[in-house]
């Protein structure tokens, strides 16, 4: 078998914010580092992030600090977050943002010349460092340029299909060049997974083709565990029309900058959906909500800026009750509330996106929006300080890691998560590699087996087309494991997933190995199925509603479940096993933060 081999200390899989930040840190810690990514450098999904990076820098509100950010994050996740991750995240985010400036990032400024910060759902103070509504592009370009300046090796358009392990842990990874279809293997004692999420298993999603759950699945197969997989975030505002753009993200900044949600009767319906959990901190009247934008001391937050799970459920209910727009969404209106100049300045890419794709002028008319699969809270179970998975030498950071966001992620906490935990993972991975004496030769039989598995779809003739199977999986997850869930539907989903697994085992692809998207999809599909099974099994198991997991048959939160994490692991039959694990309890000095009444 033709095979290209390389040797590194640290191999980072994924070149979004977490992967590049991890690679930079590993490199700076003296490790020989490589980044492997499925797309060209600079195209990772981080580029789609719009609103900003949450960090309690207190540039606009001196009252803000890491304790308030920590509290907001935990409450947004309905207290299921790993407290230690939420703490580290809140404490370290400001430094991670500042260092981006030393690498060339140009954030929007306050009148004093500091980094400006904007309002977002679930955040008590204006906290998101931003560049218009293209913050993700700024983040990825900054990290990309830093990576290039440091001379870190990048394997672009290269897909990892297996992690290689021996009895002591990670020894390397195996994959193929998308361009040529040729195989490549990396010998390395440390691998950092930074592969992002799983949204491509759903029909309506804001996620790109890359989001096939590779990292989740690779980790599981290597013997690591996944936590919180039942929690999938449906972003409340995706485009709903025209059909071909359904699911494309409409940034939360529209609401942070003054936009409101209305139903077809013209009612600002979010006032009808304020949960008791957030009642004390949410405005009761439209007048109070409108005053809040300028005077946060004496007024409470508009209900449009409740955490995403609350807003998504409310929109879903309005549409179900027959109060939706002609295309099955609700109205998001900023045109009647802010000047065209303000809108174009603050939301340039939304203005552009709606004008080009939907022929809607958002400075003159409302947008039609509805929920779209956006983010998976669940991911690889890691040690909070080092991002180490249960397999020695394996690390995970960013969306592919679990625990940080509990049952629901606040907007803006993703970009900061990438930076804080990407850096920590890179550091720990480099340290682990330094401690590994001697290299472990990659066993020929494991490489040959990985190669055979990758080529199998070419060997079969007359099998099914991978695109059809993907479509059926997306429909299944959309219909049966979506925003509102019931036991019978999820049981049916699991039956269908089992049937899809058999179909995937019999796929065939046409053409040859050179840049063949059909083949690439055939190799991604097993990952998508494993991840979908994790989501469905965990969601069936958790008999309560919390954050991004809503059960029609168990509509409320349950205190017992509030102390329990569900852990997915690989079962001996190749399926997914589910276990219960007590939630880590936070120390008293942090628990006190939740006793304080917000001023």
């Amino acid at each position: 078998m033709e095979l290209e081999k390389h040797e590194y200390d640290v191999v980072v899989v994924g070149a979004g914010g977490a992967g590049l930040r991890a690679a930079i840190e590993a490199h700076d810690s003296g490790a020989r580092t490589a980044v492997v990514c499925k797309s060209l450098l600079g195209k990772a999904h981080t580029v789609m992030a719009e609103g900003g990076i949450a960090a309690a820098m207190a540039n606009l509100y001196p009252e803000d600090n890491w304790r308030v950010h920590f509290r907001d994050t935990m409450r947004g996740g309905k207290m299921l977050n790993h407290w230690r991750m939420a703490q580290l995240h809140a404490q370290e985010a400001p430094d991670r943002v500042r260092e981006l400036e030393d690498w060339g990032a140009l954030f929007d400024r306050t009148p004093d010349g500091l980094i400006s910060q904007r309002d977002f759902g679930g955040h008590r103070y204006a906290r998101l460092a931003h560049v218009g509504d293209r913050t993700g592009l700024e983040l990825i370009r900054t990290l990309q340029q830093r990576t290039v300046a440091l001379g870190i090796d990048v394997y672009m358009e290269c897909t990892v299909t297996r992690l290689l392990t021996d009895e002591d842990g990670i020894i390397g990874a195996f994959g193929y060049w998308r361009e040529s279809g040729r195989f490549v293997a990396w010998q390395a004692p440390s691998v950092v997974l930074a592969t992002g999420g799983i949204g491509k298993s759903y029909k309506v999603t804001s996620n790109s083709w890359e989001y096939t759950g590779d990292g989740h699945s690779l980790a599981l197969q290597a013997g690591a565990t996944l936590v919180n997989m039942e929690f999938v975030q449906f972003h409340p505002t995706g485009m709903v029309w025209p059909p071909s753009v359904r699911g494309i993200l409409v940034t939360e900044s529209v609401r942070g900058d003054g936009g409101i949600l209305k139903n077809s009767a013209g009612n600002r319906f979010m006032f009808d959906y304020i949960p008791d959990f957030f009642r004390k901190e949410t405005a009761e009247t439209e007048a109070e909500a409108d005053r809040w934008y300028d005077d946060k001391k004496n007024n409470r937050r508009p209900p449009e800026l409740l955490p995403r799970d609350e807003v998504a459920r409310a929109i879903n209910s309005e549409v179900k009750a027959g109060r939706g727009t002609p295309h099955g969404g609700v109205y998001l209106d900023i045109a009647s509330r802010r000047s065209p100049e303000y809108i174009r300045k603050r939301l340039p890419s939304m203005y552009h996106q709606f004008r080009e794709l939907a022929e809607v002028d958002i400075t003159a008319e409302p947008m039609e929006v509805g929920p779209t699969c956006h983010y998976v809270m669940g991911g690889v179970e890691v040690d909070p300080d080092t991002e180490a998975a249960r397999v020695p030498g394996l690390y995970a950071a960013g969306e592919v890691a679990g625990g940080m966001h509990g049952s629901n992620r606040l907007g803006g906490n993703s970009l900061s998560d990438l930076l804080v935990f990407g850096r920590r993972a890179g550091q720990a991975a480099a340290e682990h590699a330094h401690g590994c004496a001697g290299r472990i030769e990659l066993p020929d039989d494991a490489l040959a087996e990985a190669g055979r598995a990758a080529l199998a779809p070419f060997e079969r003739e007359g099998g099914e087309n991978p695109y059809t199977v993907q479509h059926d999986l997306q429909q299944t997850m959309h219909d049966l494991v979506g925003i509102i869930r019931t036991a019978p539907e999820m049981e049916l989903a699991l039956e269908r997933i089992a049937a899809l697994k058999e179909r995937v085992a019999n796929l065939s692809v046409e053409g040859h190995r050179q840049y063949n998207p059909g083949w690439h999809l055939a190799l991604d599909l097993p990952h998508m199925l494993i991840v979908s099974e994790c989501i469905a099994r965990a969601a069936l198991e958790r008999e309560e509603s919390r954050g991004g997991h809503t059960r029609d048959d168990f509509p409320g939160p349950d205190p017992g479940w509030g102390k329990t994490n569900l852990i997915c692991s690989s079962a001996s039959d190749g399926g997914v096993a589910i276990g219960h694990q007590p939630l880590p309890q936070m120390p008293a000095e942090l628990a006190e933060i939740f006793e304080e009444t917000p001023s």
Partner: protein, 251 residues
């Protein structure tokens, strides 16, 4: 509102290829990339195409549509008549890998050659202070999604492979302009712009600005001001004298 559209798509590889005809369904509101995906899913499973965000934010799905460099995800089918044949070909300025995918490594090589951003030190309180008006000039260029349509359209390299060694293309000339205007950066890249990256090749025909999907004014706001700054430096007698007598450092 569904109709059958006539598509001609270039298929082939480095060895050669040709335009293939397809008839494919088009639904209301769709863009060219939707139609290419439908071709993949139903008629040509191995049709090679790059794409990621499908929202005009990542710059992956660049191609030439009826001869014009465009993003497939931002080109609506409603801009063509229902009886019009839509021809999709790979970017001409770069070598073909397969079908609509080209080898854009030229751009990554040029990016790596540009002297890196080098900031002044932070203020005593650990912050950098900059005024909004000062960051906006460079921010315009940082909107660049690296779709490389400007590179594709630039006549200096479009049909002149031989110029690639000495010309970085509009994308990287505005990268140089961005760094030159960056309030924190302390490196002078003007000599490099002229001598290594071929600023002088550009004769400001503004083709790059016309195809930019982000509406960046590459020529007016980036390349022309950079040319002016290079000229200032070259013919500034004080700089020349300062450098000669060693009072003012050249960089």
């Amino acid at each position: 509102m569904t109709y059958d559209a006539a598509f001609r798509v270039w298929r082939g590889d480095a060895e050669g290829g040709d335009l293939r005809d397809f008839t494919v369904a088009v639904n209301e509101g769709e863009v060219v990339l939707d139609v290419i995906h439908r071709l993949q899913a139903t008629q040509a499973g191995d049709l090679a195409v790059r794409w990621n965000c499908k929202a005009g934010k990542c710059g992956s799905c660049s191609a030439e549509i009826n001869g014009r460099p465009r993003l497939m995800c931002m080109t609506r089918m409603s801009t063509f008549g229902e009886d019009e044949t839509v021809t999709v070909t790979p970017l001409r300025a770069f070598p073909v890998i397969r079908d609509l995918v080209t080898d854009v490594s030229f751009n990554y090589e040029k990016a790596a050659q540009i002297p890196a951003f080098t900031p002044r030190s932070r203020e005593k309180d650990g912050n950098h202070r900059m005024q909004q008006i000062d960051v906006e000039r460079s921010q315009e260029f940082r909107k660049c999604i690296e779709c490389f349509l400007c590179q594709d359209t630039c006549h200096v390299i479009r049909d002149h492979e031989e110029n690639k060694a000495s010309f970085a293309g509009p994308r990287f000339l505005i990268r140089l302009a961005e760094l030159d205007m960056h309030p924190l950066d302390v490196v002078d890249r003007r000599d490099a712009a002229q001598e290594e990256f071929g600023l002088g090749f550009c004769n400001v025909t503004k083709c790059c600005s016309e195809v930019c999907p982000e509406g960046i004014h590459l020529t007016d706001n980036g390349i022309i001001p950079l040319k002016e700054r290079v000229v200032d430096r070259k013919f500034d007698p004080l700089t020349w004298l300062g450098a000669k007598i060693g009072r003012r450092p050249r960089d």
